[in-house]
């Protein structure tokens, strides 16, 4: 492995069809955390027992954060109203390539002021957080039945 890049994309689709969909991020480059790097090396090279499952859980936050490689948790992680950390519904790797995709569509079951950032985890709670990133722009107000589709593209080579 001589490089690892993660990209975050996200779009809001409003239940009110009169409102235009809002793109929050398109292939926004972001951080591989130190904890994530350690975890990857352990999973792939140094573990002497079975490792953990993949980092296919997507979380998000309304907190204003500055992603840093030392981050191990997502500050203000949302835990209610449909936007709590979720096991991504689709995870796929393209054979003979350096690319995988992890994506999930969240449906709000309550109101949110503005979702600002996302992260990947390897467990449904706690766990290691290998990737973290801000959206390019906040979601703004979300209402019940609005959907937020978050897609992570993970490239390594």
């Amino acid at each position: 492995m001589n490089g690892q890049d993660g990209y975050l994309s996200a779009i809001v689709i409003y239940a009110d069809k009169r409102k235009k969909n809002k793109i929050l991020a398109t292939f926004k480059h972001q951080l591989l955390t130190d904890a994530g790097k350690d975890w990857m090396h352990q999973q792939v090279y140094t573990n002497t027992a079975a490792g953990t499952r993949g980092a296919g859980f997507i979380a998000s936050t309304e907190s204003s954060i500055t992603p840093a490689v030392g981050n191990t948790t997502l500050t203000g992680e949302i835990s209610t109203n449909g936007l709590a950390r979720a096991d991504a519904t689709t995870k796929t790797h393209t054979a003979a390539s350096n690319s995988s995709t992890v994506e999930h569509t969240f449906t709000a079951s309550g109101a949110f002021t503005s979702v600002l950032a996302s992260a990947l985890f390897n467990a449904s709670s706690a766990g290691t957080m290998p990737h973290i990133a801000n959206f390019a722009t906040g979601s703004g107000t979300l209402a019940t039945n609005d959907t937020l589709k978050i897609t992570w593209t993970l490239n390594l080579s």
Partner: protein, 89 residues
């Protein structure tokens, strides 16, 4: 063309590398070496569907999504059964 920064997409099998989504899609689409493997949920009943050898699905250059939409074997066969019955009637 939608460009990404950083390491971009890479295929060592064909010594191909690009930072453009559309170019990557064009390279992989229809290429039998670039199949998809992973999991998703059945669009009908919601059970987890594990797949391998699925033809390459293009990445949406705006949302990043692969938009993989599959049914589990049971729902698929039920759908087929409905179609057959419709034809017979």
């Amino acid at each position: 063309m939608a460009m990404i920064e950083g390491g971009g997409f890479r295929c060592d099998a064909h010594e191909f590398k690009t930072n453009e989504i559309e170019e990557w899609n064009t390279h992989c689409f229809g290429n039998p070496e670039h199949t998809e493997s992973g999991s998703t949920v059945c669009t009908s009943c919601g059970v987890i569907v594990v797949f391998t050898g699925l033809p390459y699905h293009k990445i949406d250059p705006i949302t990043g999504s692969k938009n993989i939409s599959l049914k589990c074997e049971e729902c698929e066969s039920r759908t087929m059964g409905t179609v057959k019955r419709t034809v017979v009637q």
